[in-house]
């Protein structure tokens, strides 16, 4: 098993009392006049330090992520952050999970940025290709009904740009180039690994598992364990129907994680911070989260009838709810190890992307979390599951 430290890099000085001001989200529609550049600068340094700590403790890598117009993430341009990370992380991989391809009008630029990072790090990057969540289509102006088409086409373009001898012509529906011939070429051959983070879209899973791709599928945050299991097993089924067995290396889970000496201590320490993540940093209206056309019609109908996690309708999500559903790993090292071993046994999980800073979790608790997870979870599990 392999273990990575995931970071959202939240602006944790955001006005979490936004509901008292008659607002239902901190994303896009909320006036960001509370922003303090000195605090942002300090947070960047703090978070990069946390990644350095993880690297020095032997994590397999660190992960950056992309979101727009929100204090949930200080990384609207993840490749910029990956560039900064590359100057500090000397051992582990740098995972860009992911870059939202349909949001850009020139995806060739993404192929170029990743090739630069690949050479800067001597081949230590892993790329993640995502559509971005629905709200990004409000924030970027890109038509949500074209999200899927743009995603697949941008993927094809980037992969060809890395592997086909250039110059060549690319005539897509959304992207057209008379000359594709990027320079520098990637460091890794034939190209950097491509991972596919998603919320569990069945079409994406079947596509990612195809024999000419075999992309590692990453089940993203806020999914209950049973649905993580179902989704990752569906990847294995898809692989089987393609005529091969999926390896643990193809199955990844990104999960908020907090370890302390006892379950009780972990829950007490994590509570306000994990509840801030799920209720406040990730609060949206359905309209904001699901612009029409972002999902197919059946999914849109199902979601419009469901109650969202966090902040609306049924009151606040508690740490107890999150633990009961297996959405988070919070507890003693033994508890967290047991949850991961279960996932390993039942799913064949290969990669664990632990979100070790979440919500408002302060620096001292984050560092302690990174250290304890490394010594008491990562090391024993790695020894037990060396693949």
């Amino acid at each position: 098993m392999k273990f990575y430290m995931f970071h959202f890099m939240p602006y944790l000085h955001a006005p979490l009392d936004f509901r008292a001001k008659g607002r239902d989200t901190l994303w896009m529609l909320y006036p960001h006049d509370y922003f303090d550049p000195a605090k942002c600068h300090a947070l960047y340094n703090r978070y990069l330090g946390e990644m350095e700590l993880a690297d020095s403790l032997g994590y397999d890598g660190v992960c950056v992520n992309e979101h727009h117009q929100t204090p949930h993430s200080l990384m609207p341009a993840p490749n910029v952050m990956a560039g900064a990370v590359s100057a500090r992380i000397k051992n582990g991989k740098i995972l860009i999970l992911g870059r939202a391809l349909p949001l850009v009008d020139n995806p060739l630029a993404v192929a170029e940025e990743w090739a630069m990072l690949d050479n800067l790090t001597a081949g230590r990057i892993i790329t993640g290709m995502v559509r971005g969540i629905g709200i990004e289509y409000h924030a970027s102006g890109v038509n949500p009904g074209e999200s899927v088409g743009r995603y697949y086409e941008a993927h094809d373009l980037i992969k060809q740009a890395w592997t086909r001898p250039g110059p060549f012509r690319f005539d897509g529906k959304y992207y057209q180039y008379a000359y594709v011939n990027p320079f520098p070429r990637p460091f890794q051959s034939p190209h950097p690994p491509i991972w596919i983070p998603s919320g569990g879209n069945p079409d994406t899973i079947v596509w990612a598992a195809a024999p000419d791709r075999k992309y590692t599928y990453v089940q993203f945050f806020n999914a209950p364990y049973e649905s993580v299991k179902k989704t990752l097993l569906s990847y294995r089924d898809a692989a089987e129907s393609h005529g091969y067995d999926a390896k643990p290396d193809q199955l990844a889970w990104a999960v908020p994680t907090y370890v302390a000496d006892t379950d009780e201590q972990a829950i007490n320490q994590a509570r306000p911070h994990i509840e801030a993540l799920f209720n406040d940093f990730m609060a949206f209206s359905k309209e904001l989260l699901l612009p029409p056309g972002y999902t197919n019609l059946a999914a849109a109908i199902a979601i419009s009838k469901a109650t969202p996690v966090g902040g609306r309708g049924g009151g606040r999500t508690t740490i107890e709810d999150l633990l009961e559903k297996g959405i988070v790993h919070i507890g003693s090292a033994a508890t967290v190890r047991a949850r991961l071993e279960k996932a390993r046994g039942e799913i064949g999980l290969g990669h664990v992307l632990a979100l070790l800073q979440f919500g408002t979790l302060p620096a001292d608790l984050t560092r302690r979390n990174i250290e304890l997870y490394a010594s008491d979870v990562v090391q024993p599990l790695r020894a037990k599951y060396p693949d």
Partner: protein, 258 residues
């Protein structure tokens, strides 16, 4: 009444409502669909042969893959009018339907006797942006659509059935694909509105919260000879909120004496 047989247009089965005798009058509905315009169509059927189509993708059949932008619908309806052998007819378009009607009129107006644009999308007016309807819940949309909140309440008192919810989401997906970017307008339409030679009437609610009444003046300025009626105490749906004033303006716009 709804046609038993669909009209085949480029392989798509176009459903339409048709009733009445007299000169033909076509109504292109807004994004919500044709149902809310049926009472108006019934009323107009006293004077006209009224045709009220259901936009592609708005019913049981899925929108054809080529139906991506509003100009695609302009060609689609131009073909449909030929298939229905409509000549010398009045074309009335509300909101999204007004945009489609304007796109038709700049392309080929030879069969048009009159053009009536009601609370129409299609242009961009500096200083008067459209509201972002894609961020509205149904309750918020209804609240914004009327000057008189009683109308919104009346609609809210009738919650959607599951069937209506599904159909509404389907239509919303069709509409978003058509109008998302550039939002609710086509710069090329705006550039060519001056080609319209059909007698044009523009009707607007003074209190339209989706496309502000400044749109009406901009349409009037762009279309040679267009006449304008702004209806007071009226939101985005003038045929529901002020049906009498609306009908008077529509009939005079179509050259019928009241």
């Amino acid at each position: 009444m709804w046609s038993d047989k669909a009209c085949d247009v480029f392989g798509y089965p176009l459903r339409y409502w048709r009733k009445g005798r007299g000169p033909a009058l076509v109504i292109l509905s807004g994004a919500g669909g044709p149902e809310i315009m049926v009472p108006l169509a019934e009323d107009l059927a006293q004077n006209f042969d009224v045709i009220l189509p259901e936009h592609p993708g708005f019913g049981a059949a899925d929108a054809p893959p080529w139906c991506e932008r509003v100009p695609d619908l302009a060609y689609f309806y131009a073909e449909a009018f030929e298939a229905l052998r409509l000549k010398d007819f009045a074309l009335v378009g509300h909101s999204l339907g007004g945009w489609i009607a304007a796109e038709i009129a700049v392309r080929d107006a030879h069969a048009l006797r009159a053009l009536v644009l009601v609370s129409a999308a299609g242009i961009s007016v500096p200083g008067a942006p459209p509201a972002d309807n894609f961020l509205w819940s149904r309750a918020e949309m209804l609240k914004r659509f009327f000057f008189d909140p009683a109308f919104a309440q009346q609609a809210l008192d009738k919650p959607f059935t599951d069937e209506q919810l599904g159909l509404n989401l389907k239509r919303l997906q069709c509409v978003a694909r058509l109008v998302w970017k550039p939002r609710w307008h086509n710069p090329e339409l705006q550039r060519w509105l001056h080609r319209i030679k059909t007698p044009t009437r523009i009707i607007w609610g003074k209190d339209d919260n989706l496309f502000p009444a400044a749109y009406a003046a901009a349409f009037q300025a762009a279309i040679p000879g267009a006449t304008l009626d702004i209806i007071k105490e009226c939101g985005h749906l003038p045929f529901i909120e002020q049906p009498d004033a609306f009908k008077r303006s529509l009939l005079s716009g179509c050259g019928v004496k009241p």
